[in-house]
Amino acid sequence: MSTNEPLPPTGWHTIGPFFPRTFFKAGDNDLTRLAPEAAPTARGERIILHGRVLEEGGGPCVNAVLEAWQADAGGRFRHPLDPHHAEADPDFLGWGRAWTDADGRYEFHTIMPAGYADAAGPRAPHVNLSVLASGIMRRLVTTVFFPAFEAANTRDPILLALPRDGLRRRLVAAEDGTAGGIRRFRFDLVLHGLPEEETPFFVD
């Protein structure tokens, strides 16, 4: 192989059943802070995104690791591939990691993201989620949308990549009350189920 040829990416493997719990620190599931001791960002509406991860038969997927990534309250990313990164919220991390408990439950603390204009089309407000677990040999990726942005959702290029409206509706979280004045949104991930209930996942 000549030295100018691209290198093939390393092959994926599962995290297996024993991803260390000692890797998790309090606040890892909080996207609003740059560090556990940092103040949360002051920009945007604080929200909770929570739900369950379910496997075949509807049982809980225990000890799954979820990673979340999203834009800030202005629809920006603090990353050089965002042409507007200079205007991004300097106090918002936008990334978090959670693991599922014995009931398959996870929870993220974040802010309501804003949409943005992308070359692929106008992005509605969304959160990208990755699922890692024993038996998932390559992470599963999907995107969570919000019910209040119905018009924007109908134009989102990633929702439109799904062939049917029924599938698109499955990627919209459900508003689920409040906790301490913070709105909660519920999003369950059905990793394997009947065709009418399985969560749509995308090619990574």
């Binding site: 691209p6 290198l7 093939p8 990416p9 390393t10 092959g11 994926w12 493997h13 599962t14 297996g16 059943p17 024993f18 260390p20 719990r21 890797f23 620190k25 606040g27 890892d28 740059l34 556990p36 940092a38 075949e56 038969g57 997927c61 000890n63 990534w69 603090r78 990353h79 050089p80 591939l81 965002d82 042409p83 991390l93 990334w95 992308d118 070359a119 692929a120 992005r123 969304h126 990208n128 024993s134 038996g135 998932i136 040999m137 390559r138 992470r139 599963l140 995107t143 290029p157 990633i158 799904l162 599938l167 990793l191 394997h192 399985e198 749509p200 996942f201 995308f202 090619v203 990574d204």
Partner: protein, 238 residues
């Protein structure tokens, strides 16, 4: 202004990636979508970007797994694992978060979910986290993990392996993998390693033994390269 060219993240070559289901590993069915193929989506800014400053959150510093915080040595063959994290264009990926975890010398994990009747080592937790340096290099001191039978799946054994998780410069460059040891007789039978159809791709998951003089002679030394997905894509870090 930097923008990612449309071809900077091409689809994976499936021959070089694990194919499921895997016989004797029922979670590869129970936790994998039955609606196949997965849906194709356009790549937008959310997928191209990712967190570049995770160290306040995922703090590095545990790069010596072989010695406990109070200075006691773990049981097992002392080894040193080092290597470079590159993108597909062979550019070093700097400041990537590299996490490893592994079983102890008896093949048992510290994790409370590992209920196998093999001894725990009080001086071995078996996980570490480091950042790649200016050359994209990482390094860990640890012990060679033991093999173990796969729980609840009949009788098959995992060869000694080290789990790796790498958070690179964008969401699409995320990598979770396992590293194997050269010459281990269990490697050719491993159902996870064999789930990669391409033999060369399997061989790239096996580390290379190098001269111990690179690590002052006290540790058996292995080199292991990790290639993250992405071309022309590794952005300059702030």
């Amino acid at each position: 202004m930097l923008t990612g060219p449309p071809d900077c993240f091409s689809p994976y070559d499936e021959a070089g990636q694990p194919q499921v289901p895997i016989s004797g590993y029922p979670n590869t069915v129970r936790r994998h979508p039955s609606s196949l193929p997965l849906f194709r989506r356009p790549v937008t800014r959310t997928e191209l970007t990712g967190p570049l400053d995770l160290t306040p959150k995922l703090q590095p510093g545990d790069s010596n797994l072989a010695v406990s915080p109070d200075g006691r040595h773990a049981l097992g063959q002392l080894i040193h694992i080092s290597g470079r994290v590159l993108d597909e264009d062979r550019r070093p990926v700097r400041n990537a978060v590299v996490e490893i975890w592994q079983a102890n010398a008896a093949g048992r994990y510290f994790n409370p979910l590992d209920q196998r009747d093999a001894p725990l080592d009080p001086n071995f937790i078996g996980n570490g986290r480091a950042l790649t340096d200016g050359n994209g290099d990482y390094a860990f001191f640890t012990i060679r993990p033991g093999a173990y039978p796969v729980p609840n799946s009949g009788r098959w054994w995992r060869p000694p392996h080290v789990h790796f998780s790498i958070l690179g410069p964008g969401s699409l460059s995320r990598l979770v993998t396992q590293m194997y040891f050269p010459g281990d007789p269990l490697n050719v039978h491993d159902r996870l390693l064999n789930s990669l159809p391409d033999l060369a791709a399997r061989e790239r998951l096996v580390a290379r033994e190098v001269s111990t003089e690179e690590v002052d002679g006290e540790w058996l030394a292995y080199r292991h390269r990790l290639v993250l997905r992405g071309r022309h894509a590794t952005p300059p870090l702030p």
